[in-house]
């Protein structure tokens, strides 16, 4: 059941696209990202790793990310609105979108040994 709900939420969010984005604060978002433990799996910069996917500069619409956090039944545990509000997640989204774009790996000699 949870999977169906989640898929519906994500689909609706994807159809809505970024136009429905809320205006979050990157600074507040960084605080929430730290305080709620998001960094523990996704990295302090949202770069991702073996424990969680990359979130920095995510292509996921904001509403989809919010729906996912509240309802996921995948590898990540859900965080209810009691634990993290939609407004706080909007700030987190803004923080993730504010991360510097990564360089082309071809311009980093250590990545082309």
């Amino acid at each position: 059941m949870n999977k169906i709900v989640l898929m519906a939420a994500l689909s609706a969010a994807l159809v809505g696209g970024a136009s429905a984005a809320l205006a979050g604060s990157p600074d507040k978002g960084k605080q929430t990202f730290m305080q709620k433990g998001c960094w523990q799996c996704h990295g302090l910069e949202g770069q991702g790793g073996s424990a969680g996917p990359r979130l920095a500069n995510t292509q996921l619409p904001e509403e989809a990310l919010i729906a996912f956090v509240h309802q996921t039944n995948g590898a990540m545990p859900p965080f209810s609105t009691k634990l993290v509000s939609d407004a706080e997640l909007s700030d987190v989204y803004a923080y993730l979108q504010s991360r510097p774009k990564p360089a082309d790996p071809k311009t980093i000699p250590l990545l082309s040994p």
Binding site: Q40, A51, R54, A75, P109
Partner: protein, 655 residues
């Protein structure tokens, strides 16, 4: 109340006949010093007929009487004779009274060579060093432990070795005779059966009660440990057996010859069935975990993969398959498979199924990773050694062809069977896979490089940056990544060019934390003797279980570059506690830290560089700015090349 010591000793050991003849055994037990002096002056009991002179006795025994109070060659000298036949190069151990006689014989009678005694601060370190050493050399070490408390210290390391299929010879001292052993501490440190605490995770154990039994036990134990599946063995050594002279048993003693056993190979009928399935498959996939027991196994696996032009997933408990090969693939490729060949998989169920820790009531749920009707083939020697208590055998997975056999020993026959099953049409069809496979490989490499570029300049330093800065400076050396504990998102396996067996040694086996530091020192010891450069990615939590092994590395001049993945937490547990709090819909209590109480290693931060310096290492840190990492690595590498260990304390991202 005291009893005559000669009675207890003679009855107990049965070795004192010779000693009594030589006139060196104490006549009586004593309660106090004055009594001891009086009895020391009392006449010795001598045979009634034709007593030899003291001089004659001494000459016959072959030891100068003034230098040898026990009256002959000690039992532990004979033990050293036995051990030397097995060509065991080192014995990393923490000293203890229960094996003092063997210790003395090793360093004096044995001249501290083969084995050479290496001083350890903790029994877990000794076992861990032996664990790492074997993965480089393919030869086991012997570690001696105090039979009770020392063996208790050693247990986690032994469990890791058992799960990682690594042979270690554990010698546990134990003073078994309650009537004669010293009271107090030595009796606290004695037990009826010391091996019972490791019996569930050793291949075999023994308590020999005579020197001849020891000789057989040692050679048998070595043989069992070195027969795949490899594993640790434990031999309990009575203190009396070590200490007392060979005596009347000397003339008949012999040392059995050790011959290396051949590993068990798969039955040919099953091998041919497997070959037919693989050749007929459209999308076969090979998954290897501990398949390459030796460097030869890597070449065999490449040959099989190229014959079939099929992807290979390396689960990385050994360096099984070069990650530079175009058939190397991440685990996700098994979703495309119609036939899967699993080689020495520690968890076949977990290979083809998923467990998601996020079910309705906080209980995980299962799902499959593969298509219906996929044919599964298993070659796994561990099926020949399944015990009941510890659950390292994992969940049961039904397979279509099961070969309880050593994978590396079976590969030559499987390769020949595949060649025999390939006709012209299948050969052409299989060769048609090559271009697609090469393109797929290039795409994956590009994605990995792009992922590594994210947060490249972050502080604390990203794990990708940590690993690639390090690789950039060692890639032209004959390098060996001897341990990478903690989790750096597998960047070395994803982006370093791993082609040789010694480039990657795998993980701990039982996931007992504290393996990385001692195993890296043990492997570095082996690499030192081979002229190879050793590097470890050392996590903070792992190091703090038994950091004394740093001192062992410095004392014995073992060159090792240890680069800290210092994320200041036990991050696996951070996420577990966070997950529980989320399931229960309540915020997690961080106290004054950055994560749940009890999971962080901060406030205060540990200065690992100072810890290492205090034990004789060159060390530097904390390094938080990625721009400082390259120059620091250059300095550290120069130190290691000079023959010394060096540590860099690097502050890193969590994963």
């Amino acid at each position: 109340m005291t009893e005559p010591m000669d009675k207890a000793g003679t009855d107990r050991r049965r070795f004192l006949k010779g000693a009594a003849v030589a006139g060196v055994a104490p006549a009586l037990a004593v309660a106090g010093a004055s009594q001891a002096q009086a009895q020391a002056a009392a006449p010795r009991h001598m045979p009634s007929a034709l007593p030899p002179t003291a001089h004659t006795i001494a000459a016959e025994v072959g030891e100068p009487a003034e230098l040898n109070r026990i009256g002959g060659k000690p039992g532990s000298d004979f033990m050293v004779d036995v051990i030397k036949t097995l060509d065991i190069k080192y014995t990393p151990s923490n000293c203890a009274s229960s094996f003092r006689a063997l210790h003395e014989s090793l360093i004096n009678y044995g001249e501290n060579k083969a084995p050479e005694y290496l001083s350890c601060m903790h029994e877990e370190s000794g076992v861990g060093m032996a664990h790492g050493y074997f993965k480089i050399t393919g030869k086991p070490l012997m570690t001696m432990v105090h039979g009770t408390v020392g063996l208790q210290h050693a247990t986690m390391g032994i469990y890791n070795a058992f799960c990682d299929r690594v042979p270690v010879i554990i010698i546990g001292g134990n003073d078994m005779d309650a009537a004669s052993r010293p009271p107090g501490v030595p009796t606290f440190h004695s037990a009826l059966d010391i091996n019972v605490i490791v019996r569930d995770y050793t291949k075999w154990d023994d308590t020999p009660t005579s020197l001849q039994a020891f000789a057989q036990s040692m050679v048998r134990g070595y043989k069992i440990a070195m027969t795949p599946p490899y594993g640790p063995v434990a031999i309990s050594l009575d203190a009396g057996l070590q200490q007392e002279p060979i005596g009347a048993h000397g003339s008949g003693l012999y040392i059995p010859k050790f011959n290396m056993p051949s590993p068990p190979a798969g039955e040919m009928g099953a091998v041919k069935d497997a070959a037919r399935l693989l050749v007929a498959a459209e999308n076969p996939v090979i998954v290897a975990d501990r398949a390459a027991r030796t460097p030869k196994g890597v070449g065999l696996l490449v040959e099989l993969a190229e014959l079939l032009q099929c992807p290979v997933v390396d689960q990385a408990n050994r360096m099984n398959f070069p990650n530079t090969h175009y058939l190397s693939r991440p685990a996700g490729v098994i979703s495309t498979a119609d036939v899967i060949l699993g080689l020495e998989l520690s968890d076949f169920w977990g290979t083809v199924n998923a467990y998601t820790d996020n079910g309705e009531h906080g209980i995980g749920f299962n799902s499959t990773k593969i298509k219906p009707n996929v044919k599964l083939i298993s070659i796994n020697s561990v099926e020949l050694l399944t015990k009941s208590n510890y659950q390292d055998f994992q969940r049961f997975q039904t397979v279509d062809i099961s070969m309880p056999a050593d994978a590396e020993a079976t590969l030559p026959a499987l390769i020949e069977a595949v060649k025999a099953a390939l006709d012209g049409d299948r050969r052409r069809a299989i060769e048609g896979r090559i271009e697609k496979a090469k393109k797929g490989y290039a795409d994956i490499r590009a994605r990995e490089q792009a992922a590594a570029a994210v947060a490249w300049d972050a502080s604390p330093i990203s794990t990708a940056r940590l690993c690639m800065e390090l690789y950039g400076q060692i890639k032209d050396l004959d390098w060996s990544l001897v341990a990478s504990e903690g989790n750096v998102s597998n960047w070395p396996n994803r982006l370093w060019k791993m082609e040789k067996h010694h480039h990657w040694l795998g993980r701990s086996g039982g996931y007992g934390v504290g393996y990385g530091a001692p195993a890296s020192v043990g492997a570095a010891l082996a690499n030192r003797d081979l002229g190879r450069f050793s590097v470890a990615i050392q996590s903070d939590g792992d190091l703090m279980f038994a950091p004394g092994v740093l001192w062992t590395a410095a004392k014995h001049k073992i060159p090792l570059l240890s680069v800290m993945h210092n994320n200041r937490a036990w991050h696996q547990e951070v996420m577990h506690v966070q997950r529980m709090a989320s399931f229960r819909n309540r915020p997690s209590n961080y106290g004054n830290d950055d994560g749940p109480i009890g999971t962080m290693i901060q406030n205060p931060d540990i200065e690992y560089h100072k810890l290492a310096q205090s034990m004789g290492w060159w060390a530097k840190g904390p390094i938080k700015d990625p721009a400082e990492l390259g120059p620091a690595l250059k300095e550290a590498i120069a130190v290691v090349k000079s023959g010394q260990p060096a540590l860099l304390n690097v502050w890193t991202q969590p994963r």
